[in-house]
């Protein structure tokens, strides 16, 4: 068992003031790792969906799941890494796009299924979605000094098949 497996945990919780701090607080107070965290209300405005990426061995992940479940605001959660699931993250990248780079950037964006959202004489702003590792790959493919700014949403995800998380 890898000691530092990556886990994508998706949480359905009460859309209450302070609920997010309780989750964040839990991770800092107990010394757990947290790599990314995304949160927004669901179709039911009384509920929020929070997805986070964390690392740890089996025992730590088990504790994280139990401690999260123990929070009064948490309605239900699923460790998407333990099931067939889709993971998606949104990334916005501002790159240099002058001279030879202009064609190169467009080509790379196309290969990765991205869209150019904004164009200036010197820059492109590209939108990409995919798994975290796909977005990492895109950034690796681009020359380092061509990147002006990177904004990532953090991973979110949903289970495949008929399984659904609801209150």
């Amino acid at each position: 068992m890898n000691n530092n497996d990556r886990h994508l945990i998706s949480i359905l919780m009460e859309n209450e003031a302070g609920a997010l701090s309780r989750v964040a607080n839990l991770f800092s107070a107990r010394g757990y790792n947290i790599e990314s965290l995304t949160v927004a209300p669901t179709d039911d405005p009384t509920l929020s969906r929070l997805t986070l990426v964390t690392y740890g061995n089996k025992q730590i992940i088990e504790q994280i799941v139990k401690q999260l479940n123990k929070l009064i605001d948490v309605v239900r959660l699923i460790d998407l890494s333990e099931t067939d699931a889709i993971e998606r993250e949104l990334m916005l990248v501002k790159t240099r796009a002058s001279g030879e780079l202009r064609a190169e950037m467009k080509r790379l964006a196309d290969i990765f299924g991205g869209h150019v959202l904004d164009v200036t004489d010197a820059t492109y702003t590209i939108e990409l979605t995919g798994t975290g590792s796909k977005l990492d790959n895109f950034l690796r493919a681009v020359e380092k000094d061509a990147i002006l700014e990177v904004v990532r949403s953090g991973a979110t995800g949903i289970a495949l098949g008929q399984k659904a998380l609801h209150a």
């Binding site: 919780m13 009460e14 003031a17 302070g18 701090s21 309780r22 607080n25 107070a29 025992q59 088990e62 504790q63 139990k66 401690q67 479940n69 123990k70 009064i72 605001d73 948490v74 309605v75 209150a167």
Partner: protein, 581 residues
């Protein structure tokens, strides 16, 4: 329907919840609530002298009675002072509901006078907390607070009340029931797991039952006693679990852990099946985790899933409330007429009795100087083992746990998890409110008592006569003991060069003070003090400053690596142990 203020609604909610006592301290942001309290007689308010004591007194009341303790403090410093009391209750899973004043909603976040982010500052040490911004939500929130505090694994719940919310008016309707979609504690254990556990328990050759505070909190004592006597197995209890099983019964082999008995720790180390009930494998119990119960299969019953397999891998986890799970186990055993392995058990008891014969709690008494253990033993005799005992934190706490055998649950009240010095006196006052006709004793030390001594005034005002047994050795004894063992006797900041005259201090607060300096006077002084039924008596016992708590498992040691009094050469633990503290 008539419209009433938030403050009046709060008081009516407390009445609906059957709250007898409110431990608190007034201030600007709670003035409306105090005004509403003035206009009624149902809920009695106890005016403490420091907000920390409000928490501890409510806590002592809760631990003694099994009912939730209720606290009311003002915003800002009222809340920050109360935090230690809240954290103490949180670590020991005590049901408290704490109401805190807050600046008006329009001023929240403005750095207003006496403003602090109460919900934020207490978040890590409460089971849950609420900020009420709308008076129409107040009654429902109070109901939820009591429900959350008292169900599942209990704990403190804080409700923050901005001043304008206590002034605003609405109709009062107190919900009969509350249901939270996100909070449904598991009460009944899983039948399949219980069946598996029973099979394992009955297959044991060297069984051991280890119980904790969860048995007391869930009122599971009756079921525990029935199960233990049905099985004939040995039982040990944690510091928080003492009293769940009668300590004077022969199947009880003493407290376990850092200062547990030789037989309890050896039996833990050698057992082949460990049944943990309402206990959480705290570091003070396990010692070095790699050396903990090396040959044992483990069954763990706990209402909190996150307690299971947190520190120690568990073979058969059962999530549920202790009395329900134990009742189900008893039923399986009785219905199917199952029996333990009596031959193996007899051999096991012979082994345990050999360990017992070490008499690990023996100490060398003296005619010259008062031994602290001797005071506790005499206290036990004089009170016929019946008093409610609270303690502070330190050596005296361990001696109380070791030398006062508790025969019933809720008789022993101490801060086990957080280890809060200053807890004992206000907790004793709280216990006395719960049981005015019982003897309540606070066992304390010269360090701890000074942290909350101001509550002697509260005890005078409300006439809550308790007996204070101060084991005065002039030192912060437990820290001194560690410095002696592990820091080559470099006694840094553990000696009090100046102590108050505790007799005069007690008298200054209107109580009786007694100083006892000779072993021959101990029993007489105790008898005299307990004869004064209606007085708080401060017994200042000048005790042997060099006495240490034994047995002791130095941090980092295994359960079978104990230091016994006057038998072992002290050795410094290795660096790894020092880090564990």
């Amino acid at each position: 329907m008539e419209l009433i203020t938030g403050a009046e609604i709060l008081v009516r909610c407390l009445k609906e919840e059957g709250v007898e006592y409110l431990f608190g301290y007034p201030g600007g942001s709670v003035l409306h609530i105090y005004d509403a309290l003035y206009l009624q007689d149902d809920v009695k308010h106890v005016l403490v002298r420091h907000e920390q004591a409000a928490g501890h007194a409510a806590d002592g009341y809760a631990r003694a009675s099994g009912k939730p303790g209720v606290v009311l403090v003002t915003s800002g410093p009222g809340v920050t002072n109360a935090v230690t009391g809240i954290a103490t209750a949180y670590m020991d899973s005590i049901p408290l509901v704490i109401f805190t004043g807050q600046v008006p909603t329009a001023l929240i976040g403005n750095d207003a006078f006496q403003e602090v982010d109460s919900v934020g500052i207490t978040r890590p040490c409460v089971k849950h907390n609420f900020l009420v911004k709308d008076v129409t939500k107040l009654a429902e929130t109070v109901k939820k607070a009591f429900y959350i505090a008292t169900t599942g694994r209990p704990g403190p719940v804080l409700v923050d009340l901005p001043k304008d919310v206590t002034i605003a008016k609405t109709e009062f309707h107190y919900p009969k029931k509350v249901k939270l979609r996100s909070y449904n504690p598991t009460i009944k254990g899983h039948a399949g797991q219980i069946r598996k556990a029973v099979d394992l328990i009955l297959s044991a050759k060297r069984p051991m039952i280890y119980t904790g505070g969860g048995v007391i909190l869930s009122d599971g004592s009756t079921e525990l006693v029935e199960l233990i006597q049905l099985l004939g197995y040995p039982i040990t209890e944690t510091l928080m679990g003492l009293g769940a099983y009668p300590a004077t019964d022969k199947q009880f082999i003493g407290m376990l852990g850092m200062h547990g008995t030789y037989e309890a720790n050896m039996a833990m180390h050698e057992c082949d099946v460990l049944i943990a009930i309402g206990a959480r494998f705290d570091d003070r119990v396990t010692g070095k985790i790699e050396k903990f119960c090396p040959g044992a299969k483990i069954v763990h019953v706990d209402i909190d899933p996150s307690s299971i397999s947190k520190n120690v891998h568990v073979d058969i986890p059962i999530v549920g409330s202790v009395p329900h799970v134990l009742r189900a186990m008893i039923n399986v055993i009785r219905d199917e007429k199952l029996k333990p392995d009596t031959d193996a058990l007899a051999r096991w008891w012979r082994q345990i009795d050999e360990w017992r014969a070490m008499k690990s709690l023996s100490y060398r008494n003296s005619d010259e100087v008062i031994k602290p253990q001797f005071v506790i033993e005499k206290l036990y005799q004089v009170t016929a083992g019946q008093a409610i005992i609270t303690s502070d934190v330190g050596q005296h706490q361990m001696w109380a746990a070791q030398y006062y055998p508790f025969d019933r649950p809720r008789q022993w009240i101490n801060s086990g998890g957080l280890g809060t010095m200053g807890f004992g006196l206000p907790a004793a006052m709280g216990a006395k409110f719960a049981f005015p006709d019982q003897d309540v004793v606070c066992i304390t030390g010269d360090g701890s008592i000074q942290m909350m001594a101001q509550e002697l005034a509260t005890m005078k005002q409300y006439h809550t006569p308790v007996k204070i047994v101060n084991l005065n050795n002039g030192y912060l004894g437990m820290v001194r003991q560690w410095q002696e063992f592990f820091y080559q006797k470099r006694y840094c900041m553990t000696y009090f060069e100046a102590l108050p005259d505790f007799v005069k201090l007690a008298e200054a607060y209107g109580h009786v003070g007694m100083r006892i300096e000779k072993p021959g006077d101990v029993e007489g002084a105790l008898r005299e003090a307990f004869a004064m039924k209606d007085r708080t008596v401060f017994l200042d016992f000048l005790t042997d400053a060099s006495e240490n708590v034994f047995p002791m498992i130095p941090s980092g040691g295994g359960q079978n690596e104990m230091l016994l009094a006057e038998r072992d050469e002290m050795v410094s633990t290795h660096d790894e142990g020092m880090v564990l503290l």
